[in-house]
């Protein structure tokens, strides 16, 4: 996915409003209308279930965030070799990396998740060796499959981004590093990787927001994240809109916090000009 598309699909730091722009006359009126709407929602809809479920909701948000960060970090660690292999690798590295990216990016995440959970999950118990291994207690749970599917998906999308980022580092910088007598590894560690990450950072932010938007899928394989908690609320209280509106609000807040954090992080990296 290109930069432009990630921006179009995920909320990114460029979209954050500035403090000053809030106080235009028409915006104040619109905010008043919105506040009235919020008050109506709070008064006329049923929220009496909220206190009962609050602890579970908090736990669910935590599970969602753990899912997000663990898979984003693991996925990124996988994405660096995948991107690098596509840029410099010999064909027997290049080809599998390319095929991996194409296949994962060409199929829906929900399908991959179900393939891992139902497919592999039904295959594993047939092998006594796996049943007796130390991994078995984990393989009987749902979350390892969720983590695996989300990690693979993030690695594929991010691998493509890192490929572009590695290829985009100016050749002169690498030649300069070589002229300084750096070994290949030092050059990679000091110049190539940091410059590539810097170039990929805006897209990386977008991809992380997209990853947050993918996490509720794990609820379909019985991982109890915030989405699953809300589904439970809907089943038990027979309410349709209230829990879903709250869920949308929770995700908007999470996205907002994530994006603000990214902007702070991005601003701390010194750049030329600006």
């Amino acid at each position: 996915m290109t930069d432009q598309t990630t921006h179009a699909v995920a909320f990114t730091p460029e979209d954050l409003p500035t403090a000053r722009s809030f106080f235009q006359p028409h915006r104040i009126v619109m905010m008043l209308v919105f506040a009235a709407f919020v008050v109506c929602v709070a008064v006329f809809m049923r929220w009496d279930w909220l206190p009962r479920y609050l602890p579970r909701l908090g736990w669910g948000i935590l599970v969602s965030l753990v899912m997000l960060f663990s898979t984003a970090i693991l996925g990124f660690l996988l994405a660096v070799p995948i991107g690098l292999a596509q840029v410099t690798g010999p064909w027997f590295f290049k080809l599998p990396a390319k095929v991996f990216c194409t296949v994962i990016r060409g199929t829906p995440l929900l399908l991959q998740l179900w393939l891992l959970y139902y497919g592999l999950g039904s295959l594993f118990p047939q092998f006594p060796a796996i049943r007796q291994s130390f991994l078995w207690p984990y393989l009987r749970e749902a979350w390892p499959y969720g983590v695996a599917a989300l990690t693979i998906s993030f690695a594929a999308y991010e691998g493509e981004v890192m490929r572009g980022a590695f290829a985009g580092v100016p050749a002169g910088e690498l030649e300069a590093a070589k002229a300084y007598g750096m070994s290949r590894w030092t050059m990679f560690r000091r110049i190539w990787l940091p410059r590539a990450i810097h170039r990929a950072l805006p897209t990386l932010n977008g991809e992380t927001v997209l990853q947050l938007k993918s996490t509720p899928l794990v609820a379909t394989i019985t991982v109890v994240d915030v989405y699953a908690v809300i589904s439970k609320v809907r089943q038990e209280t027979f309410l349709t809109y209230e829990p879903l509106l709250l869920l949308a609000l929770i995700y908007m807040c999470l996205t907002g916090i994530l994006v603000v954090a990214f902007r702070t992080f991005e601003n701390r990296i010194p750049t030329r000009g600006a």
Binding site: L109, K213, S214, T215
Partner: protein, 241 residues
């Protein structure tokens, strides 16, 4: 089950005992929703992009809210909200005109839901593409006395196309994959049908891999057409890279 060979291919047979026909029907449903949703999203996107660029301050802020919400909330949640809210609102509207409630077909609901989500994405893509058109071209068209609609039809839309096609083609691929999310609201598209087939026959890997191959084939075929379209739209541009 598959005792004589490792893979029981007869499960994929097109006629009744096999599930191949059901799978293909689900695939057709998925493609229909993707096409419908993408087209609806494109329509919303053209309107949204022009509203954001040339609209008044209130329209612009409302559109900003729309795109922000869609880009910040998971598609799965939006699909559930729109699915219930959309059908509810329609039935209440019909009740207002004292027409009894109608059963909204899953296909229509699916297209509506995917379309609204895609609308926000394509608003952003098209807005970026329109901004990339040199301002002088649009000013020249205005100076010739063209009406806004004529400027849109003759200048802005054709001139922005090369800039928009990479983004829009990605959105098409996203649309095809987002149809899988409709499985969660119980619409029988490819992913849900696959799960039903797999659950019935217990051949999970076979069916999920088959469905994956279908999705992948759709993506690869789309990529070929996208490449052709892109070359066509970029003719006359200086070769990049």
């Amino acid at each position: 089950m598959a005792s004589d060979s490792i893979v029981n291919w007869s499960l994929l047979a097109l006629s009744a005992p096999g599930w191949g026909g059901v799978l293909l029907q689900g695939f057709v449903n998925s493609i229909q929703i993707a096409i419908g949703g993408f087209a609806l999203g494109l329509t919303l996107g053209v309107g949204g992009a022009f509203g954001k660029l040339y609209g008044g301050p209130i329209l612009r802020d409302l559109l900003e809210c729309y795109t922000t919400v869609v880009r910040a909330v998971p598609e799965l949640v939006l699909i559930l909200l729109l699915y219930y809210a959309g059908t509810d609102l329609l039935n209440q509207l019909l009740a207002l005109f004292s027409i009894g409630p109608v059963d909204i077909s899953g296909l229509m609901a699916g297209i509506f839901v995917i379309g609204v989500v895609q609308g926000a994405y394509s608003t952003e893509v098209l807005r970026g593409a329109i901004k990339a058109v040199p301002a002088g071209q649009i000013e020249a068209a205005r100076a010739y006395g063209m009406s806004p609609l004529k400027v849109l039809r003759r200048i802005t839309l054709p001139a922005m196309l090369p800039y928009a096609i990479p983004g829009l083609s990605n959105l098409w691929l996203i649309a095809t994959k987002d149809t899988a999310l409709l499985a969660v609201v119980g619409f029988s598209e490819l992913t849900l049908v696959t799960r039903q087939a797999a659950g019935t026959t217990k051949a999970y890997l076979l069916f999920f891999l088959a469905a994956g191959a279908l999705y992948l084939a759709l993506t690869l075929v789309s990529n070929i057409f996208i490449g052709m379209l892109e070359r066509h739209a970029r003719r006359g541009f200086a070769e990049q890279r």
